[in-house]
């Protein structure tokens, strides 16, 4: 077992876990942050995407020990003071979420994308979200939600 210290959504946490335990499982089982979903478990679908030191990663492919000392942002840390983040609000209003399994990963991938490209082209949106699979929406409403979020949200 290894002691792994993490700052998750601003809160310092220490867990005692097998060092090869997937970060995804540490989040869901040890920290009870079940907003992060497991889809494929092979790094293909992006449902488990989180921000690790600001970079988008698939948490199913990160051994716990490699996250020691890291700052993490999960879907639970995206909203502030009980208010949805503008990205979440845009997904809600544009119909960018249906069954919801892909949504936490989509929101974090969008967060990462807009950090890099505040005014992304459609091509940049498609590439930025290419690792996040959605079986419901057909993607168009997701792309519209991202464009809306980039344009400043729905205030």
């Amino acid at each position: 077992m290894s002691n792994v210290s993490l700052t998750v959504n601003g809160n310092k946490q220490t867990v005692d876990v097998p060092p090869m335990k997937r970060l995804l499982d540490v989040l869901r089982e040890d920290l009870h942050l079940t907003g992060t979903k497991e889809g494929c478990g092979e790094g293909e679908c992006g449902a488990c995407a989180v921000l690790l030191n600001g970079e988008l990663v698939n948490s199913c492919l990160v051994p716990a020990l490699q996250a020691n000392g890291a700052k993490l942002c999960t879907i639970e840390g995206v909203s502030t003071e009980g208010r949805l983040h503008p990205i979440q609000q845009c997904f809600l209003e544009k119909g960018g979420a249906q069954c919801g399994i892909c949504t936490p990963g989509m929101i974090l991938a969008t967060h990462h994308l807009l950090d890099k490209y505040p005014n992304p082209t459609m091509e940049q949106i498609q590439e930025g979200l290419a690792g996040n699979l959605c079986r419901c929406t057909g993607y168009m409403r997701i792309f519209e939600a991202v464009q809306e979020a980039a344009a400043g949200g729905t205030h």
Binding site: S2, V17, G43, L61, V62, P63, L65
Partner: protein
């Protein structure tokens, strides 16, 4: 069925020297793990055979892009995202940028490393065709020192490399001498992101009018390892590009190709498309 993580050991020695000392003391016992985009997939699907792993993901000693005189040296721990962000690589080795951009997805590019891509030694990996076309060299490191060999000699067979059990891949070096070369790369897969290639071809050529003064070709999924297409190169160098030259290039490539049937494609399709990609490259050189 997912593996039980408790059955696996993982340590993260603080320095490269400490990692090298450990693999020298117990050669073959420990498997290095960098970004985890391959080994963690095996863990997740219950296929991870290695029980003791050593993390090298945090070693900044392996994560660098250095321009030194006529060469670019890329540390094995450099991520695909690092590569895509490098202005020097974009200027001198654009095919490497292109192949990094279609490796996995953004999340995988943030974690996956050039060294992991090469040491995993898949014949379908995305970066090898570009490295082969650029005539890359690889430097291997162990507790007893470094050695450098042509990248074309690194892959010995399907998932087999020239690495000794006490060695790590340290860096990949490429010359900065292709400014005058015409450059081409194309991956054929089911989609841009995430897909593993059915076939991929990278090529660079130096032209004198319509005559090929120099040509170098690298391919993925054309054999049991990434390969330089030296028969096709030999058939084309010094020739004026015309229909006969294109036929000769295609025939030579067909002669040296040893593709297989698998879940992603068939040997017949791979050979045919590889020839088509070569023809597309050659015709583009006339424009």
């Amino acid at each position: 069925m997912r593996s039980d993580a408790a059955l696996f050991a993982l340590e993260a020695p603080a320095t490269l020297d400490a990692v090298l000392a450990q693999i020298a003391a117990e050669p073959g016992k420990h498997t290095p793990i960098a970004g985890g985009t391959e080994l963690m997939v095996a863990l997740g699907t219950g296929r991870l055979a290695q029980r003791s792993l050593l993390s090298i993901q945090h070693l900044l000693e392996l994560r660098f892009i250095r321009v030194e005189g006529d060469a670019i040296h890329i540390g094995s721990g450099t991520t695909f995202t690092d590569i895509r962000r490098s202005a020097s690589i974009a200027e001198d080795l654009p095919l490497l940028i292109q192949s990094a951009s279609w490796t996995g997805s953004v999340a995988n590019q943030n974690r996956g490393t050039l060294g992991g891509n090469l040491c995993n030694a898949s014949p379908a990996a995305d970066t090898p065709p570009a490295l082969l076309a650029y005539g890359a060299a690889v430097t291997l490191i162990s507790a007893s020192g470094k050695r450098t060999l042509p990248y074309a000699e690194f892959h010995l067979g399907y998932k087999k490399t020239a690495l000794r059990p006490d060695e790590l891949l340290y860096s990949v070096s490429m010359p900065r001498e292709f400014g005058e070369y015409r450059q081409y790369i194309r991956k054929v897969g089911t989609r841009n992101a995430q897909a593993i290639s059915k076939i991929a071809l990278a090529g660079i050529a130096l032209m004198e009018g319509d005559v090929i003064a120099d040509i170098r070709l690298g391919a993925a999924s054309l054999a049991d390892r990434p390969v330089r297409c030296s028969a096709a190169e030999a058939a084309l160098v010094g020739r004026r590009i015309d229909e006969a030259a294109i036929r000769a290039g295609r025939a030579a490539l067909a002669g040296e190709a040893k593709p297989i049937d698998d879940i992603r494609s068939t040997a017949m399709y791979r050979a045919a498309v590889a020839e088509n990609l070569l023809e597309e490259f050659l015709r583009s050189l006339l424009k």
